[in-house]
Amino acid sequence: MSHPISRSVRRKDAVDKAAGKCMYLSDLYPSAPLYGRCFYSSIARGRIVSRKLPPLPEGYWIVGASDIPGKNSLHMLIEDWPVFADTHVRYLGQIIYLVVGPDKQKILEILEAIEVEYEEETPCYTLEESAALVGGAQHGEDNVYTRYDINLGDIVEPFKKAARVLENEYYTGYQEHVYMEPQSMYGEWLDDSFVLHASAQCPYYIRKSLKGALGMDPEKIRVIQTATGGAFGGKEHFPDVLAGPLAVAVYKIRKPVKIVLDRKEDLAYTVKRHPSAVHFRTALDSDGNILAHDIDLRLDGGAFASCSAVVLARAVFTIGNVYNIPHIRVCGRAYCTNKPPSDAFRGFGAPQAVFAMESHMNYLACETGTDPLEYRQPYLFKQGDVTITEGRVHEKVLLPEMTERILEMSGYREKHEEYKNIPGKGIGLSYFLHGCGFTGNGERDLIKARIYLKKNEEDRVFIYGSNVEMGQGLMTTFCKVASRALDIPFDQVEYVQPDTAVVPDSGPTVASRSISVVGFLVQKAAEKLKDQWVSGQAQEIIQDYEPPEGLVEWDQDALKGDAYPAYSWGINVIEVEVDPVTCEVDTKGVWGVYDVGVPIDRQIVEGQINGGMVQALGYSHLEKLECRNGRFSQATMADYIIPTSMDFPSTQSDILDNPFEYGAFGAKGAGEMVFDGAAPAFTAAVSQAVDAVIDEIPVLPETIMELTDEGQ
């Protein structure tokens, strides 16, 4: 029986968006008094030794490091990323100047006339070069942004008594977000304040990031989110990076300036998903049972730290995946390299970890001659099991029911058997989970979310928070939660467009936290308002975050306790056919069964499932992004290949209810988890089809040709 709240409503924003009436940043300001365009570093690493700037016509500016009123750093987790490169550059594409003026043609001429001379230093392009400190250390003494070690149980004994030790390494590549709306913002100076309109996920992050650079009181920095045409993590921190130069320019010029990146700039110079390399050593007993894992997990963080530490944390805490293995050691490190910084992207380290673990499980099953589905069963988490950080799986685990359901939907078991004898056909399966909300004590100690619920004299209710609608349906689901808790019609509730001058800080729109964490605050506030409801009177509720009870206390130094209060779960099955001549892969079937607590809106969650699946299949199969000498080879949308409507068949999915006590009407996060599992299921299918071990994504026809072609 599904919860009545899951019944779908028409999204609040759907008609306006479909009719072309929704105004994105570029639509609000199709032309602007002044435009800004960045001058980017053309080398990956070096010292700036001289600069020659052209004479400027009246009304044009070249804004750079010397114009910064405060300090030359953006404040993300740490403050290593400068607003403008000053003495050094650390990646090709780092912003050195912002050229501002009224005429775009003139701006281009000025940009072409700027001459910067560098003394090049040897860049690090790979994890190995970074670890070897090629060209000298750039971050700390070891080029490691963050290192996290996990020691669950004790692996020494199991490895001593192991009958067999199996090892393998797994790699994932870059991925570009390709939100369809490129990075866009518009800054102006109003009433002694800097006002920024931006397509962004985290208005308060931008404010925090600019505070030091502008040397201004945060109250004087106002960030207004504009309708956001997709983000996927790409508008979590990168807007900080563009807003820095823009803010400095507006501070100096005191006139409105617009920056909208061209698609090519956006592809070339914005942040990407972290590439990863995960090495597994596994101790097995004589029956092939897993005794312990020893895991080395490395992420390529690129030139500045950004949020690599947090991505690493999630990768490390997710590497155990859905399995109860008592002895695991993990050494996780995020490295500094001279490439555009890696940053948040849907899944946030979890897809890399899940790919490695699931691929490794397939490898172990294969090496021990066991069926991959059967091999996994004894280890699947059950309620009460101990997690990799010595927390608990508090919730009921529906994996057995989910397994049954997906086998029935996909015919996996029969097909898997059958395809053993049919070259070119394959089917693969993956299990995965995704922790909801910030890692560890983040929600309690760092975010401290707050929302307001206000009612006016006409009894219309308004939700105030800083989480943004970026396509995931938040505006609709939040209003559904409030209207249901208040027992009033959905149309009577509105979500206020986030504006730091108006809404409280309910935290960033990240980490699968919006519906489970912030949505829960909306529900609690609505319940309070309902109790106090006086018709015809303006009323206001302030609701602060309260941590769930009954958790294993988190210790950030020891990395022990409940890393997440709850998990969303999923199983994917993917079926493929590989062309024997060209090695092209035809995806024949895609299935998913999920536990997201309670879906607040079935249609919206299905939208996340379908969209996450196709984006993840792109990651697995199409989206090759190579960085050569610091520059991405795939420079246009014609060469960076995201899926079209013809590439993958429709996703067949089902959702099982499993209410979470501390989520809005039982909801857990859905947006990221639905991305996590496709890659290993896809590679498992291709693996079976071509009878070869695949340990790297994306799996391109080129890869398959190299693995299987005997004529070479």
């Binding site: 061209d262 060209t582 092209e584 199409l622 795939q634 290949i641 079209t644 590439d647 080129e702 070479q712």
Partner: protein, 295 residues
């Protein structure tokens, strides 16, 4: 100063072309991308531009002089809608970019762009199609294969325009449905994805077998060398042999293939993949011919 010309007749266009050398722009789908500029600024064209799409004289598909002739400004989607278009060309056009782009792009433009990966070229070259080039001084016909000399380079003169693309009717008939069991035509695009893709390689093969003998065989491969490759030498050696010997003889002429096919590594694929796939597609084609009942 970049001028924009908008001739109303072909004669006016030719006069303008010889006087100004303005770059002809038909659908614009290649030129607008190649010279793309910051939004709202005109593209960075290297010289003056002359629009051709409005010239009614260049919008037609008709049979004349033993050729199926396609006017130089005819959009790909119009060509696709015409039942007289040979299947191989239709298959190729249908997989170029997406419907919206094919409403703009012309076949003549695809040829003039002279990309080694232009998908229309392998079928056109297999069909021995030609282009008619016109200028104020007159006109000349040239096989498509001779028209293109290098990536982005053609023999189009400063005063010339592509008036039409011409496909020999003899080929159209030979490949026609009535002959279907005797003739085989294959078009295959290996793209970066299933739709709206650029080619890693594309091939077009044709064979006509009758009375157990290979009467005609043609093989063209795109994106495996600087220009589209037609394996003429191999074709000569395969023509006239008995179908039963095809595979054996093919093995001995593979060396011609090795010489002609020299792909590169780029952002879309690898030289290794292109070469192996081209060879596998050829092997597959030959073995299918050999296995044919009529063979």
């Amino acid at each position: 100063m970049v001028e924009f010309y908008y001739p109303e007749t072909l004669n006016e266009a030719l006069e303008l072309r010889s006087r100004t050398g303005a770059l002809p722009l038909t659908g614009g789908t290649d030129l607008m991308v190649r010279y793309e500029n910051w939004s709202s600024l005109p593209p960075r064209f290297p010289g003056s531009i002359m629009a051709l799409k409005q010239l009614n004289e260049l919008h037609y598909i008709r049979e004349e002089d033993d050729c199926l002739c396609i006017g130089g400004a005819t959009a790909m989607n119009r060509i696709l809608e015409d039942p007289r278009i040979p299947e191989a060309l239709a298959l190729a056009l249908d997989e170029i970019a997406a419907p919206s782009l094919r409403n703009l792009a012309s076949l003549a433009g695809n040829i003039q762009n002279a990309s080694p990966a232009a998908d229309s070229l392998p079928p056109l070259i297999v069909m021995d199609a030609s282009v008619r080039l016109v200028s104020s001084a007159g006109s000349r016909d040239l096989p498509v294969q001779e028209f293109i000399t290098a990536p982005g380079r053609t023999v189009l003169q400063q005063d010339e325009l592509i008036e039409s693309v011409r496909i020999p009717l003899s080929f159209v008939r030979q490949a026609d449905a009535r002959q279907a069991e005797k003739s085989t035509i294959v078009y295959r695009k290996v793209g970066t994805r299933k739709a709206n893709a650029l080619s890693k390689l594309s091939v077009c093969f044709f064979a006509h077998c009758e009375d157990g003998e290979v009467k005609d065989i043609r093989m063209a491969l795109g994106a495996v060398a600087a220009t589209v490759v037609r394996l003429q030498k191999a074709e000569e050696k395969l023509k006239g042999i008995s179908c039963g010997e095809l595979e054996t003889v093919w093995k001995s002429v593979k060396r011609d293939f090795e010489k002609a096919v020299r792909p590169i590594d780029d952002q879309r694929s690898t030289a290794f993949y292109r070469k192996r796939t081209a060879l596998r597609l050829l092997d597959d084609f030959i073995s299918r011919l050999q296995d044919q009942p009529s063979a």
